[in-house]
Symmetry: C2
Subunit: 204 residues, 2 copies
Amino acid sequence: MSEQDCTRTKILEAARDRFMHYGYSKTTMSEVARDCEMSAGNIYRFFASKLDIAEAMAQKFNAEQDIDYERIAFQAKPAIERFFEFFFFSLEKTYTAIEEEAKILEIAEILRIERPEFFNEHLAQERVFLVKILEDGFVEGVFRKFDDPNVTAEMLQSALMKFRFPQAYSQLKLDQLRYELEGVIRLLLAGLSVGAKEPALAYA
Amino acid sequence: MSEQDCTRTKILEAARDRFMHYGYSKTTMSEVARDCEMSAGNIYRFFASKLDIAEAMAQKFNAEQDIDYERIAFQAKPAIERFFEFFFFSLEKTYTAIEEEAKILEIAEILRIERPEFFNEHLAQERVFLVKILEDGFVEGVFRKFDDPNVTAEMLQSALMKFRFPQAYSQLKLDQLRYELEGVIRLLLAGLSVGAKEPALAYA
DNA sequence: TTGCTGAAGAATTTATAAATCATTCAAGAG
DNA sequence: CTCTTGAATGATTTATAAATTCTTCAGCAA
């Protein structure tokens, strides 16, 4: 690891501790700098802005989550089981993370507004794993053939949006969210099943 | 119409004009009262609070929308067509309403926070029509049998949540929303189709 | 009695000045 | 030259006081 990377990591860790403890907006660049024993101005040689520190943090969080997604998607299990596991994992992980550290919600909200592209990239990465599950399901003979599995994955994400940032989109408790997620997934899986028939004509 | 109802309506109309023009929070009870040629205190003999005026307004808006929903649900058309029409109507109506009158979003947001029950009631009403479409589809032979059509309707609503308050839940433009709505509906309709198979076991 | 007003109070919002903050950069240190 | 600092700056936030606003209700009018 280069000297540069090392300092970046040090800043990132100091910022994470502050952000998680006091929140993004209540943390100042001077405080982070002091924790790293440097001046505030110097941070800007490693990060273009405070927001970029937050984005890098979230990036790391997502990268870790993607490892779990990958593990789930490539398991030696029926595609349907992996499908359930994938989205339930996502719900439980996000819900508990936000419950334990309400500050995460602040950062997520700020990134949603200021860096809309950020989430799209993560969704795109997630679709890689979804496509894997869809294609395996087809090979298993439980899913039908899709014109474009990536588009199908997009639609699945769209239908399950509500469960991605549970506390932001609804006031529902975890139990109710689990109940609804189960129901929606069952409906979607039915829609993916070999016998399912999409309507012949397009509407729009 | 009784004298009471007449005054209520007058207040409601004056409030609607103000709310739509200046927004909910920028409208004062005195202004509404002045428009009705009465004192602010007197409004409280007809509405318990300012928020209740907003709720009554939204109630009326929903009631009008429900008439359209009913018309769509009871049309002499294949269930699948009605299904599409139902949700596309909802998207187009809400999207354009909010675009034309951004102030609606303010009221919707306030009600979402302060009167969470309000939206649940509207959703419950909407499900009556969805169940009608589902049951007709079963009779037509295009939908499979559901244990509890009302629960299925709940899951459909949950999966299509994103398209209900488009501007609140996403930054997407109408074109993109239409594209996604079409895709999600097609997936859901496939899941409702006679050949579709739900997974045998429950997950949670 | 019944319907209404306008004053009064508590809560919220606004206005504004002071303070703090994110960010830049000239200049010093190594 | 590379790395760092700390002062400068414009934007944002905070603090606080003043003004509004929602809501209640005693009392007036019909």
